[in-house]
Amino acid sequence: MKVFAALVRKEEQALFTSPIAYVVLTVFLLLMGYSFCLTLFMTHVSDLVHLFFQIFVMFLLTIPVITMRLVAEERNLRTLETLLSAPVSETQIVLAKYVASLSLVVLMLVLSLSYAIVLAIFGEPDWGPIYSGYLGLLLLGAALVAAGLTASCIARNQVVAALLSLSIFLLLWIIDQFGYILPDPFNALVVNLSLSVHFKPFVTGSLYLSDAGYFISIALLGIFLSVWALARR
């Protein structure tokens, strides 16, 4: 456990001393802040539904940037061999990188709570959809980080890793549109692969355990495939 904690600390340090984390956070806050203000001032609606959908898209675009360097960079810098020859398992390495990257996503969500606080100060928002929306974003982040980590373990360099994970995310975002033109029962299968189909109910306050299960299973599958891909090297 001590080894794992040390590994997490090392990854956190690498992430939060690099400019990537701060650039991502600043861009995220600028765009979301603008979007929040615009929605609130124009519609006067006291909810975060629009904002949650925009954070969803932001996650699809920024998480590949966060995860691309996790393993691919170590491979380029040739520090991966050193790490693998240390008395730590592949599982511990992958989990440490996963936890560190997820902590940045959680930090983004924590900072975005300021918008909910504004709503609480000036109005009486319906907290149910806000809680479920944040739960959905957390699960989405957990799933995307795991998938991005897998891409980083598979790809030989950071750009390929980022492009690979971005392609997967975009495909999973819009795949339900193809599902509707397929015959039964393939349509149901393809529609249920979609990230947006499983994310939308969280945002609107309509919580299904199967949607939570979808994101949890992607996260676990991503961690499993990452460990296998790392061990293959």
């Binding site: 006291s46 599982t91 109005g123 299904y208 355990l209 199967s210």
Partner: protein, 530 residues
């Protein structure tokens, strides 16, 4: 066992705990079988523990395989197996799904009536909802229907944005926003211009009904029934006047007409037709219920015998007396056979009345009966009282609507005169059922008698729960009382209105200070590291 686990290390402990947790939750889920939501929530917990256990066990597999073809195939096989397991786990979870409505207004919770209809479906029923994406009320209705579509595979739900897909709407004969097109087998029902899910539930019942219920309205004695169909004017509000929510229907008809009642019955799937018993040898068998509302002229000789024969074979009769006209003698004779009569004069209620007039009796509470089970206050203007005398042995009678203890009866011709009765509760409506006196048939009759017909006529039908009571009476008589309520559901969104200074403060905090502070922290970290 514990010693063995301790020797094997914390990972073995972790896996053993996961196994124990998954099994315990699964057993608890099986034990909670009757409460499906609780059982499925426990299964979800077991599912999570089992998936974690599988991941942990999978990571125990030999990771560093060689580069031979066999090793590559093994690696590919394990990865494919992992993906397959994830898909199967999701399919299992989807089949035991649990839904939580997190909204304050329960906007994703369909009315109980609609849930009952969907959960009871045993054959396919499809619902296509033609709506406008910008209409929040319609979106809420659509959201609740989407939730239901996941509960029963026989219920297929699809939405069509009328603005984006006018061709499909035209091809299927849809002309108005918020139209639910319900199809089951060969039956096709359109519920137009509604965001009220109760109406959709009734539409579904109509689509599922093999048999059409027919209410036969008695005519020929000056009853207010019009043979022409009710003339309805629709108002449409959802996109152009956002401050007015929901669709409105305005009935164009006389104050004493029955158009509103007929429309409400139509929503429940009932057809109505006029009958003139004086010209009939017997009441037609197709009548689910016979309705005699407000007779103003005497019955023809022999009509009471026609009704008696109908009731003797298990007929269903609703009688609403008109308080401005004498009770037809034939009707009096018919009622006296089961020991009841409609009294002269009108009931005044100084305690519970509508507005300032004691003759408009307000009734807030009812004796327990399926007809009045979910009925709020009703108003009876100028009502007569129903007197329950000695009932025949095989007939049961129950007062449905009773005025307050302060009410009294007054002769309509002499207000304040000697004809006032002593104060006390007066029965304004009563329900009877049992075997018709002298009948050899086993089929029990049902009858409701009210001392007033105005409460069900156009003018008073929309007043508080009058309409619900009138429709509920007819539905009880025809043996169909599962979903009597016709109250519309309303949705609204909380809003925030900010002053100019508040807008500036919010913008400064979330758009300037927050990103700037993160950027400054990043710059400080970079500077220190440099």
């Amino acid at each position: 066992m514990a010693t063995s686990l301790i020797r094997r290390g914390p990972r073995a402990w972790f896996e053993a705990s996961l196994l124990g947790g998954a099994l315990s939750l699964a057993v608890l889920g099986i034990l909670a079988g009757s409460d499906t939501a609780l059982a499925d929530t426990l299964f979800f917990g077991a599912w999570c523990a089992a998936l974690l256990l599988l991941l942990s066990l999978a990571l125990r597999l030999p990771l560093r395989a060689g580069d031979s073809v066999g090793s590559r195939l093994l690696r590919f096989g394990v990865a494919a197996l992992g993906c397959g397991m994830a898909v199967l786990a999701n399919v299992a979870l989807y089949r035991h799904d649990v839904h939580f409505d997190m909204t304050r207004e329960a906007r994703f919770t369909a009315p109980a009536e609609l849930s009952q209809v969907v959960n009871a479906l045993h054959r396919d029923l499809s619902l296509t909802y033609f709506y406008n994406e910008a209409d929040e009320t319609a979106q809420a209705a659509q959201g609740a229907l989407s939730v239901l579509a996941r509960e029963n595979p026989h219920f297929r739900f699809k939405t069509v944005d009328l603005d984006r897909n006018p061709a499909e709407a035209r091809a299927r004969g849809v002309r108005a926003y918020n139209t639910a097109l319900i199809e089951s087998g060969d039956r096709r029902v359109q519920v137009e211009n509604t965001v009220d899910l109760h109406q959709v539930a009734f539409g579904m019942l109509r689509a599922l009904n093999e048999r059409q219920e027919i209410s036969c309205f008695v005519t020929g004695h000056g009853e207010p029934y019009e043979t022409l169909p009710p003339h309805v004017h629709y108002t449409h509000v959802e996109t152009t006047q956002e401050n007015l929510r929901g669709a409105g229907e305005i009935v164009v008809g006389t104050a004493d007409g029955l158009d509103r009642l007929r429309l409400a019955l139509g929503a429940f799937g009932y057809a109505d037709k006029p009958i003139t018993p004086a010209t009939l040898a017997s009441i037609p068998d197709e009548c689910s219920v016979v309705v005699e509302i407000g007779p103003r002229r005497d019955w023809a000789p022999g009509e009471d015998a026609t009704f008696a024969a109908y009731l003797a074979r298990g007929g269903r009769l609703l009688v609403m007396a008109d308080s401005t006209a004498p009770i037809p003698h034939g009707l009096e004779d018919l009622l006296s056979r089961v020991g009841i009569s409609i009294e002269g004069g009108i009931v005044l209620d100084p305690l519970n009345h509508y507005g300032t007039e004691p003759e408009k009796i307000a009734v807030p509470y009812y004796p327990k009966h399926p007809v009045t089970d979910r009925i709020a206050m009703t108003v009876f203007p100028r009502a007569r009282s129903v007197h329950l005398r000695r009932l025949p042995e095989a007939v049961r009678a129950l007062p449905l609507v009773v005025s307050s203890k302060d009410s009294h009866r007054q002769d309509a011709g002499r207000p304040g005169g000697d004809e006032e009765s002593a104060p006390g509760p007066m029965v304004l409506a009563a329900a009877l059922e049992g075997s018709w006196p002298g009948s050899a048939s086993d089929a029990p009759f049902r009858m409701i008698v009210t001392g007033n017909s105005t409460f069900a006529e156009n003018e008073y039908f929309p007043v508080v729960s009058n309409g619900e009571l009138a429709a509920s009476m007819i539905r009880w008589l025809s043996g169909d009382i599962d979903t009597p309520t016709i109250q519309p559901q309303r949705f609204s969104l909380p809003q925030i209105l900010l002053t100019h200074h508040q807008i500036q403060a919010v913008f400064l905090a979330v758009e300037v200070l927050l990103p700037l502070s993160v950027m400054l922290i990043g710059a400080a970290v970079w500077w220190r590291r440099r």
